[in-house]
């Protein structure tokens, strides 16, 4: 198992872009959740999740993204998704989460949606 998640981030104006590289599953979700929640705790409210290099997502992964979104919405922020490969996108679709997450093909269009 490639039990490792590479997490990096950068900011574009007031939007934080978090890039994930790896598999977001039971093994990698806890560390990823800690990283994302730490960003929110720092005060970032608008977050784009750059999922272009996300190879796989399990229900554990979905859970941490929902947790992040649930925390951001009341603060007037949001977590939006960019660049998912079809296999990953279909996991969202099956669970019905395409109706709560805004998804964009590119990081650029996700960033524009915040402005």
């Amino acid at each position: 198992m490639s039990n490792h998640m590479e997490i990096s981030h950068h900011t574009v104006d007031d939007v934080l872009v978090i890039s994930l590289r790896g598999r977001l599953d039971t093994v990698t979700s806890p560390e990823t959740e800690t990283a994302i929640q730490a960003c929110i705790a720092e005060g970032y409210q608008k977050i784009v999740l750059d999922a272009a290099n996300l190879a796989y997502i399990s229900s554990a992964g979905l859970r941490i993204l929902i947790a992040a979104k649930k925390r951001l919405i009341p603060e007037g922020g949001d977590l939006r998704l960019a660049g998912m490969i079809p296999q990953v996108r279909s996991v969202f679709t099956i669970a019905g989460f395409d109706r709560i997450f805004q998804m964009y093909d590119t990081e650029k269009s996700a960033l524009e949606s915040f402005s």
């Binding site: 859970r63 929902i66 669970a95 019905g96 109706r99």
Partner: protein, 455 residues
Amino acid sequence: MVPAYISTFIVLFQMMAVIVILAYLVTRTRSFSEVLSGVFTWKNQLFLIVFFGIMSIYGTESGILILGAPVNVRDLGPMVGGLACGPVVGIGAGLIGAAYRFTLGGFTEMACSLATFLAGLLAGLIYLANRRTFVGWKIAVVFAVVMESLHMALVLLLSRPYTEAVELVSLVAAPMILANAAGMFIFAVIIGNLITERKTKTERDMYELELEREKAELEVAREIQVSLIPEILPHIPGVELAARSIPAKVVGGDFYDVLQLPDQKTGLIIADVSGKGMPAALFMGLSRTVVRANATWHAAAADAIQDANMMIAEDTRSGMFVTLFYGIFNARTHNLTYVNAGHNPPLLFRGLKQYEELRGTGMALGVLEDSRFEEKTVQLNPGDMLLIYTDGVTEAINAQDEQYGIERLMAAVQSMPGRSATEVLDTIIDQVNQFSGQAPQYDDITLMVLRVIPT
């Protein structure tokens, strides 16, 4: 005859050896151990006062003449006592050492006694300033150097005649400072080692305790999960029904349930809670009860799930959700009315060549309180087989990191025409196990097979 500097060196070496032994002995005592853990009793403090007091007396008595001047480590005991065990021990030991020195008289008796008392007092204050912990060897050695310099200053200040005081200090200052600093270094390193050892041991104990706790938690989670899954499935006329759930090592939150409803109807539920271990087990327990109650209450599948979702969503934190398939099978008409709340689509095999996916009719439960759910109805014909499963089946991985996948699942079903529901279930589980081989099972595997007996 051995040269003088060599015999001096030997005496100094012996002094250091005694200090090493004393340091070793005292750090192994229960009193020292207790004080290090922050437990102060009059008994352990009295013991340490006496110990470091005697050490101070030894420091006086073992003093040697270097270049004709007396060099001693009298202040060492009170300094170590104060730095490692606090002001009470420091002052107590200092008073003993000072009193003993005072009885010896001499023109420096006042300055030397005062210095020994101050050594214990100041060391104790440093202990307090460092939030009641030992300062470590660097600061301890610096303190010893400063303290012995102060000792020399006191001699110059208080001892008369002044010219003799100056002469004495100029002779002994350097060796005194050096001897006490070296003694302090030995003591501090041994105490430092002890503290590190204890810390490592505490951490190891904590880690083992944590492992134990996690293991116990997993056991309980597994028991909760197993206890909530029906042992015996109701008999439905004209239909075979088989179901099984195999929990992963780190238990997920899969469950299935079969409800007998009025009018020859049977409720089929299969669900997958996001998360692992105890939180998932508890959330599963909640979800199962809520869904069961609402399924019994509402005749319409969509109403049942809508209300269940509302109750579960009110209760969720940390983004937990549950994907669920709820089907109501009518044994009279062979209709299946279902709601798919974000669950991976069950497969309905029509004969063996054709199949339908019973796709989602709403979002996973527990995310939005006001989610809407549709219900759909399919007609099942004799020979048709419905395969409801959780993603633990298709996402089982082998050693090469490949997923079992839906294609293999389909192929497995299509390779056994005319088999009973139980046979199909057993074969799929066998195949998944064979596929995974030695790779660990990451997720619960849950399957339900419903087959309409061919006429």
